[in-house]
């Protein structure tokens, strides 16, 4: 297209959602530029042309001019009506999900995006989609407000607790697009990133079948996958480095000092309690920021996680 303000926008990878937005973006920019130059150049021209010659300069009494004032009120008004209508229709388009859209569930929580597919497949911070198909993401939050934003698709919506919201898009090329969280959600807000990974339709089918039913394998393998899918590693490292929470490395069977001065041995019950009710026992030197997992994780899954944690030395 090659429009004047193309340099400002990221690549357009979902024309069905992005095109109306981009068209209006360019229109407002170009119209504004014309008006802006008009105002600024007039101002500068007057400043030079009517520079003060002496302190006794006489100026004419011009109090108003109805024609002029009506003109410069009505023309901008009409322009803004156009902008409103254009923006409104583009927004309706963003809200109206095509009937044949493929649904994927997305859950935001501090500070990860967890993604669930129709056949039980699960991913974390990766949204796998087929190209050329409208995709509807049904989203909710487990804790505070988040907001799901893909610049290359021009879509964004807040993600709320106790309510579902959605966005839709249709990626036309295989590849990756960046996802941001744009509603401030705490310490690692700026690390709450994800990728939309667009596959060829047949590749997507294969991928989906391979991941059917969620984690599988031995308890340790399942535990490892769960730790990754639940986003535990955002705050708890497995290599001993210190993040927002204590590292998982080598904790099994050791004593741990708590914030209230007491200490506790890291065993099955401590881990179970720390997952379900993290506020009960706070490790010394850390804040109480973890979201409780009560009601979100089964006992079997906790057992698998415990088996995995035992192996991290």
């Amino acid at each position: 297209m090659g429009r004047l303000f193309d340099f400002m926008l990221p690549e357009n990878k979902s024309p069905l959602t992005a095109d109306p937005t981009d068209g209006l973006f360019h229109f407002i920019n170009e119209a504004s530029l014309v008006l802006f130059l008009g105002v600024v150049l007039a101002m500068i021209y007057f400043a030079i042309r009517y520079k003060r010659k002496s302190e006794d300069d006489k100026t004419p009494v011009i109090t108003h001019n109805n024609t002029l004032e009506i003109t410069w009120s009505v023309i901008p008004l009409l322009i803004t009506f156009v902008v409103f209508g254009w923006g409104y229709s583009g927004w309706l388009n963003l809200k109206t999900v095509p009937d044949d859209a493929y649904e994927i569930h997305v859950t935001g929580f501090k500070w990860n995006w967890s993604v669930n597919y129709e056949n039980g497949a699960q991913t974390i911070n990766e949204i796998h989609v087929p190209k050329g198909t409208p995709i509807k993401l049904v989203m909710q939050s487990r804790d505070v407000l988040h907001s799901f934003f893909v610049p290359e698709y021009r879509v964004k919506h807040d993600v709320l607790p106790n309510r579902y919201t959605y966005v839709w898009f249709q990626a036309e090329e295989a590849g990756e697009s960046q996802v941001f969280c744009t509603e401030y959600c705490g310490t690692s807000h700026s690390n709450m990133l994800a990728k939309v990974i667009v596959h060829e339709p047949e590749d997507f089918k294969t991928w989906l079948d391979e991941n059917r039913g969620g984690p599988s394998g031995s308890p340790i393998e399942q535990g490892e996958k769960l730790v990754s899918l639940q986003g535990c590693q955002t705050c708890h490292s497995v290599d001993g480095s210190d993040l927002i929470g204590p590292s998982f490395k080598g904790i099994w069977g050791r004593d741990r000092n708590l914030a209230d001065g007491s200490s506790v041995t890291v065993d099955e019950n401590y881990i179970r309690e720390s997952i379900l009710y993290p506020g009960e026992k706070i490790a010394e030197g850390y804040q109480n920021v973890m979201t409780p997992y009560e009601g979100r994780i089964s006992d079997e899954e906790i057992t698998n996680i415990i088996e995995y944690l035992k192996t991290i030395d």
Partner: protein, 588 residues
């Protein structure tokens, strides 16, 4: 003398003959408000609107320096995509503090409470605001609000962003939030009292002859601002009180975990906070109108258009809060209406800009520093306005919401608008307030630094915002690095500009040339007093027979006052009307 004896209508009564005489303000006054009472205690307990204005000005400058320093720290941290020198939690607290301080401690009180307090009664020819003790109380309430905010810092601080969105603000880190919400709650009262005071003053304390059509546009702007302050701030107070209760008692109105609704909080919050942006910007419009007429020596173009558009902005401004929530999950109907009304509020703003530019036409334009700031204002504020239209457009806002585009937009409006207008006003009235002139060449150089620094800081933010860079990010992805680094360099240039201003204003206080009563040859009533003014502003009760921008009328006719020394008002007026012979006899 053209109008030796003249009829002037006082606020509430029918036209009557007044005994008037010409008063020329002394070049070097012997007794001013600065010499009238002395000592720290006299300052701290003064009820003089001029001193209270200066105390506000000092506090606002202090908080601006503090919050500006935080901004420099934030920009420095953003030099690299990962950690540069501070931790994520510190960064989050700093941007919250930067926003909260700039909004509540700098922008809201800056023009009305500091410059407005000083200038408004003088432009009305009044001796003080209607409730001087309330005025002092509002200053101390402001100080208390500030103390509570600092107490919050001592109690874990707060990292919610200045918007305090629930449930983040009701779930985490309670102690700091409780202190700061109480601080903002208290601060609200300061704003309410100032607004109440100004409305009453404008209605009841106008000097003889100042009818509504002779009100300076600065007064109109402050009037519109005060109406917003009185109508909007109590809603903030109750919102913030409910938020505090949410933290103390978990009453559950806004917290989804207890059955409440976070979107309801956003509605409550923006019902105040959108009108609040007009509390910040509308007084700036007033200053621009004053300065542009003085330095073009010309009647304002479209007096009523400018005066009424301030009121229009004040009222429509109450109906557009939902445009902060297009992506939040509010209802579709609400979203549509809010978007539509948002454009309507853009129109009166545009009209003002056109009127100001038209005022320049065939004027006698002198590019002194205040005028230079007016030009900078029109340049920057127009960009802020156009990008506001962009953000009001529904589909485009979905893409731009909560990105750096929004950050750049409100900095262009708030800093490029309000703060630049404040600088224009500060330079314009500096000689009146202090009786001293500042260093003009240095002032122009500083204005240049600020203009360039500002654009280098914030123009790249439009681009990276449109590219997708979200706001309130401690880390960012590599592709944004060049934009962030340019922006950071710009912020240093900007800071340098402010340091220069600090230097020459301080210098002017001690070594500045004497200014004389009216260095700009303005027709404004506030300039018909000595510099610095008398304790009672004027040595006489002024009588006004012309509009404030009647540059085609001779200066002498703006220097009229009641012939009775230190006239106390309507009893005198009634007495004076008895014989027009006496009135004629007393004219100098």
């Amino acid at each position: 003398m053209a109008n030796a004896s003249t009829s002037a209508s006082s606020a509430a009564s029918t036209p009557m003959k007044l005994k008037v005489k010409q008063f020329q303000p002394a070049q070097t006054p012997t007794n001013t408000y600065l010499t009238d009472e002395k000592g720290v205690w006299a300052w701290l307990t003064t009820v003089d609107h001029k001193k209270i204005g200066l105390m506000y000005l000092g506090s606002v400058a202090f908080f601006f320096a503090l919050a500006g320093f935080l901004a420099i720290a934030l920009r420095t941290e953003l030099w690299t995509p990962a950690k540069t020198f501070i931790e994520a939690d510190t960064y989050n607290q700093l941007f919250t503090l930067h926003g909260a301080m700039m909004v509540f401690f700098v922008l809201v009180p800056s023009i009305p409470a500091a410059l407005g307090n000083f200038i408004l009664p003088m432009q009305l020819g009044a001796k003080d605001v209607a409730f001087p003790r309330l005025n002092l109380a509002s200053f101390y309430i402001y100080v208390f609000g500030a103390i509570f905010t600092f107490l919050s810092l001592a109690n874990n601080g707060f990292d919610t962003g200045w918007t305090f969105y629930t449930p983040y603000s009701s779930d985490t880190n309670s102690a700091g939030i409780i202190w700061v919400t109480l601080g903002v709650f208290i601060l609200g009262f300061s704003s309410i009292l100032t607004g109440t005071n100004f409305i009453t003053t404008i209605h009841k304390l106008r000097a003889p002859g100042i009818s509504w059509e002779r009100l300076p546009l600065n007064v109109w702007a402050l009037y519109a601002t005060s109406i917003i302050q009185v109508l909007a701030t109590p809603v903030l107070a109750i919102t913030i009180l409910l938020l505090a209760m949410e933290n103390i008692l978990d009453i559950g109105i806004f917290d989804p975990a207890l059955g409440g609704d976070p979107v309801l909080y956003q509605h409550f919050f923006w019902f105040y906070s959108h009108p609040a942006v007009y509390i910040m910007i509308v007084p700036g419009f007033g200053i621009i109108s004053e300065v542009i007429t003085t330095f073009s020596k010309k009647t304002i173009f479209g007096y009523w258009a400018i005066a009424l558009s301030s009121l229009a902005i004040a009222f429509i401004g109450f109906l557009v809060w939902g445009h902060h929530m297009f992506t939040s999950g509010q209802s579709a109907v609400a979203t549509t209406i809010f978007s539509f009304l948002t454009f309507l509020v853009g129109i009166p703003t545009g009209i003002k800009i056109f009127n100001w530019v038209a005022t320049l036409y065939r004027g006698s334009i002198s590019m002194k520093t205040p005028m230079l700031y007016v030009f900078i204002f029109i340049f920057l504020f127009s960009i802020g306005g156009f990008t506001g239209i962009m953000l009001g457009a529904l589909s485009v806002d979905i893409h731009l919401h909560d990105t750096y585009y929004v950050v750049a937009h409100f900095h262009y409006v708030m800093m490029g608008g309000t703060l630049i207008a404040l600088l224009a006003g500060l330079h314009y009235w500096w000689p009146k307030m202090t009786g001293k002139m500042y260093n003009e060449p240095l002032a122009k150089i500083a204005a240049g630094f600020i203009f360039i620094g500002f654009n280098v800081t914030f123009l790249p933010q439009f681009i990276m915002g449109a590219q997708g860079m979200p706001r309130r990010y401690y880390n960012y992805i590599d592709q944004f690095t060049p934009f962030h680094q340019t922006s950071t360099i710009g912020s240093y240039i900007l800071a340098l500009g402010f340091l220069i201003i600090l230097y020459y204003l301080a210098h002017s206080l001690f070594k500045g040339k004497k200014a004389g009563p009216n260095p700009w040859n303005s027709r404004g009533l506030e300039w018909q007093s000595t510099s610095p003014p008398d304790f009672h502003n004027f040595s006489h009760t002024p009588v006004v027979i012309h509009g404030p921008y009647d540059y085609h009328q001779p200066m002498e006719e703006f220097q009229l006052g009641l012939a009775v020394e230190h006239g106390h008002g309507e009893e005198h007026l009634a007495a004076d009307t008895t014989g027009s012979k006496a009135a004629e006899a007393t004219i100098a």
